[in-house]
């Protein structure tokens, strides 16, 4: 049995269909918490879809379901890869691992650092493990850290001692370094100062021009207005609205 069905070129890169996620909290007398309810939308190739909504509306849950850090309770997440379409909601774990290595990147607002690995290697190692020569991987890592304005003095230091904003730069550099086809970003710029945020926006724009597709949760309206094509608004675990970024009031976005 093949997990892949071939997809015509016009299909969206990602099609989310009737996605539901509930959590059963056994310690709380099997209390059921609804994370997402009947969420559907599509993301075209090369598009930047911003996910906005109040705290607790389901933004992070949505991104985690797309990355399979959360296992969707029902619904489909159809990803149109080069070898055909895969349902990320139900494909086996090894397919998910393979896609994470080759095609789908994710970053949260917190760096999941590895003890004793210097900042430059946090970014360079996955590139090297993906087949890039050590020197080229480090060069690329240094270029990204420099563009995200991480002081050169910190490149060889351990991120465990960094400030929130410094860690976020390492985190973002690590996520974009392998140039994934699909990039899932969960508030990757929340702790950045305005100038660094502008540098991050420039980098993300270049990635979009290169064909990367991005689904991102952002709280800063300047980021959304600068890079997003469309906006999906979540409210109480459901999609309230979806449309081009120009169609929304500034209040909705921020």
């Amino acid at each position: 049995m093949s997990e892949f069905e071939s997809a015509p070129a016009s299909t969206p890169l990602l099609a989310v269909e009737n996605l539901h996620k509930t959590f059963d909290m056994h310690a709380l007398g099997d209390k059921r918490v609804v994370g997402l309810e009947d969420v559907s939308f599509a993301v075209e190739r090369g598009e930047f879809l911003a996910v906005v909504g109040e705290s607790g509306s389901g933004k992070s849950s949505l991104l985690k379901c797309l990355y399979r850090t959360y296992e969707p309770s029902s619904g489909r997440v159809l990803y149109a890869g080069p070898n055909g379409t895969v349902d990320l909601a139900s494909c086996d774990d090894r397919t998910v691992i393979d896609l994470r290595t080759k095609a789908i990147g994710y970053t949260s607002q917190f760096l999941d650092e590895i003890p004793r690995v210097p900042a430059v290697d946090v970014v360079a190692r996955p590139l090297h493990e993906g087949g890039m020569a050590v020197d080229a991987a480090r060069e690329r890592a240094e270029m990204l850290l420099s563009r995200l304005r991480l002081p050169e003095a910190l490149w060889e230091a351990y991120p465990a001692t960094f400030s929130g904003g410094e860690r976020q730069r390492v985190n973002l550099a690590q996520a974009i370094a392998p140039k994934p086809r699909l990039l899932l970003l969960d508030e990757p710029t929340s702790a950045l100062d305005p100038e660094t945020r502008a540098a991050a926006i420039d980098l993300l724009r270049e990635f979009l021009d290169d064909g990367t597709t991005i689904v991102g949760v952002f709280h800063n309206r300047d980021v959304v207005e600068a890079v997003a094509d469309r906006v999906v608004v979540l409210e109480d675990a459901r999609v309230r609205e979806i449309g081009p970024v120009e169609a929304f009031d500034r209040e909705v976005i921020a």
């Binding site: 985690k64 850090t69 090894r94 690995v117």
Partner: protein, 282 residues
């Protein structure tokens, strides 16, 4: 195709009876059979490891993790019979060998343990001769696999010491003079000596200081990825598994209660016991 697969793996200490499986496990809340008193260390465990993949096994003390790890590493010395008084059932399939690894003869088992599947023991004393030199402990593994040239052996040991970050200058000192973290790295160097396809690590950081733990884990993680060796990592420490494993099994009372992607297990645990385990992390 998986590299290593376990099917219906069961290990019972004691005589065993017809009620053993039904009366033990997660739903029964015990791993000891109330009828015959036998201990069902693990039962009906199914798992697989792909090439280069790291599988984590977590659970509290007595959940059957180490029994399962030893079984997978062919650590029991005589076919289906384990150490005195225990029985192993089920199948272990390995891509490099035809048939059930639990049924191979002594010589094949010896060869597989020296070359293909190696074990890093939970207790240093089970894995190392502490009176021998650190280099000697690693060399012994090479000699078992047929290495004979003195210079070649020393050169290989030296490069394994460098790879696992043990000071080469200490190579000829008795292993009991090494720090705990160094002894653990000697075990890892020894386990990697003959380029195995799978390494089984049983509690790789137990008894080490936090800073030393980080170094041992980072060393193993780097070497594991560079060499593309598959690994099975058994630990009661969720942090260890989180750092190393792609996929994770959660065990309780000798049974696998949940399995999945490691980040999914950590952030979206389904089973009641897994939720308790995750919520108990300090």
């Amino acid at each position: 195709m998986s590299l290593l697969e376990g099917a219906d793996l069961t290990k019972i200490y004691g005589d065993g009876c017809e009620s053993c499986r039904a009366r033990t496990g997660d739903s029964a809340g015990t791993n000891q059979c109330p009828v015959c008193g036998s201990v069902v260390a693990c039962a009906d465990v199914n798992l697989s490891v792909a090439e280069g993949e790291v599988l984590g096994i977590v659970g509290e003390s007595g959940s059957g993790k180490s029994s399962l790890a030893e079984t997978l590493a062919l650590a029991a010395d005589d076919g289906g019979e384990g150490e005195s008084g225990s029985r192993i059932e089920g199948e272990i399939r390995y891509a490099g060998h035809e048939g059930n690894l639990l049924e191979v003869d002594y010589e094949t088992r010896h060869r597989l343990r020296n070359g293909d599947i190696s074990l890093v023991h939970q207790h240093v004393r089970d894995g190392l001769e502490l009176d021998f030199s650190g280099g000697g402990n690693v060399a012994e593994k090479l000699l078992s696999a047929g290495w004979r040239n003195y210079e070649a052996v020393r050169e290989r040991v030296r490069s394994l010491f460098e790879e696992t970050e043990i000071p080469v200058g200490r190579m000829d000192d008795p292993t009991h003079t090494y720090s705990g973290g160094m002894q653990r790295r000697v075990q890892i160097a020894r386990a990697l000596a003959n380029d195995p396809a799978v390494v089984v690590l049983d509690e790789p950081t137990t008894g080490l200081d936090v800073s030393v733990q980080a170094r041992v884990l980072d060393t193993f993680r780097r070497v594991q990825r560079e060499e593309g060796v598959a690994a099975i990592v058994v630990s009661h420490d969720l942090g260890v598994v989180r750092l190393l494993a792609d996929r994770t099994l959660v065990m309780r009372h000798g049974r696998v209660v949940e399995s999945g992607l490691t980040d999914r297990i950590m952030e979206d645990p389904h089973h009641e016991y897994t939720q308790t385990l995750i919520n108990s992390v300090i």
